[in-house]
Symmetry: C2
Subunit: 245 residues, 2 copies
């Protein structure tokens, strides 16, 4: 596969380099001066590597000394959609419009996307670790919602990822089985008043992880209202497990 940076900008001590690995597109953010451990960011459904929350989180992590990479999920960020993508997105939109539970559709579609995304993340990590600054650095993963649907199978498949922040997703038997193979330190987010994900479903998914260090952070509020201070907590979490120089 062919890896290349497609642009390069630098501001406020953050080097931003969009890249392409064959048809996979993404962004690598790094400190201008030195390069610390690498955090992989998984974006949410309908978002992409250039979405404001990804850019904000990446900048925060670079300030803390990390390099950060995000790739666009299949069908996201301008990448081509398949007929399945179109069908599943239409089904989600219809459920939203009619007020039917969107959970079963999201779970099914996101796990389908994970089948396509996991090999792409592995190939991206291979390519990034061939860069001199990132060879052999410790790796962490942060991803909520669809970033968890992709993150769980990725963590189960990828022994290079040493710590993860996940959450805001439904229990599912396939996911739970994969979670049972994951033993790295974990911080897991749940919204206590989530209008889409039942509490018992989130709690059961958290329970399924085999990690001996795992922390559930359940915050009052709706699905979209994850408090901003949770990202600071994630930075502290990575600081404990993947300390930046």
């Amino acid at each position: 596969m062919s890896f290349q940076f497609t642009a390069q900008t630098s501001a406020d001590g953050v080097l931003t380099r969009p890249f392409a690995l064959d048809e996979i597109t993404g962004v690598l953010w790094s400190p201008v001066t030195a390069s610390g451990p690498l955090i992989l960011l998984g974006h949410g459904g309908g978002r992409d590597s250039k979405a404001a929350p990804m850019v904000g989180r990446a900048h925060r992590l670079v300030v803390a000394g990390y390099s950060v990479a995000c790739i666009d999920a299949p069908g996201h960020g301008g990448r081509p959609r398949t007929a399945t993508d179109d069908q599943q997105i239409a089904a989600m939109q219809q459920a939203m419009a009619t007020g039917e539970p969107v959970g079963p559709i999201v779970v099914r579609y996101n796990l389908h996307l994970a089948d396509r995304a996991v090999p792409e993340w592995v190939a991206t990590l291979d390519a990034l670790q061939e860069l001199p600054d990132l060879a052999g650095v410790p790796v962490g993963y942060f991803g909520l919602t669809m970033g968890t649907a992709i993150g769980v199978p990725l963590l189960a498949a990828e022994p290079r990822i040493a710590a993860a922040v996940l959450g805001i997703f439904w229990y599912d038997e396939v996911l739970a089985k994969l979670a049972g193979q994951i033993t790295v330190p974990l911080e897991f987010l749940l919204q206590w008043d989530d209008e889409h994900i039942p509490r018992t479903s989130s709690l059961a998914l958290f329970d399924a992880f085999a990690s001996s260090e795992k922390s559930l952070h359940a915050n009052a509020g709706a699905h979209e209202a994850v408090p901003r201070f949770e990202f600071e907590s994630a930075v502290s979490f990575f600081g404990r497990h993947l300390p930046a120089a």
Copy 2:
């Protein structure tokens, strides 16, 4: 009532002053240079204001710019025990020895202690806020286990407390009713593998608080194994709600 400091020492920038308010004994820790918001520490059952975890937490908070007070609960820290204290402690020890559930006894006894401790905390806060450095400063509360059994009725009774960290306690109808009167920002700890407190019991107590900002931190591990990083999280929590200068 008569308030007096009974000693004064200073080390590493921490001024330590044991005090007595009539028969109530406690300790006030303060920065040597300036005095920030006041954090009240509630100790656990069988501990007291001079126990190592209290001293360690107090020093950490003073370094972050806070003043910190802890009082000995009734029957604790050398304070006289009543016949009820003796009976309840014997009942707890017997349950521990025979492997019977200790929860119902702890809940009953700690709520009895709370009836005696809450007016003592209120009187202590009155006395402390007559000190020039602490007049009108914002107040927070940190207390796990018995410190939660006392903290919940204290928070319900005491409008001067503006933020609290609680947890590691059982659901109880009386506590839950009081929790429903509490609206200040809350961080609440739970041990996911607690051998004494069922998960559903802890989750139900967390659910009972009326706070619009409340965060549950549930960590893998047994009753006594609350991770050290949770106290750092508590310091960050107080930093958001009661910022020290």
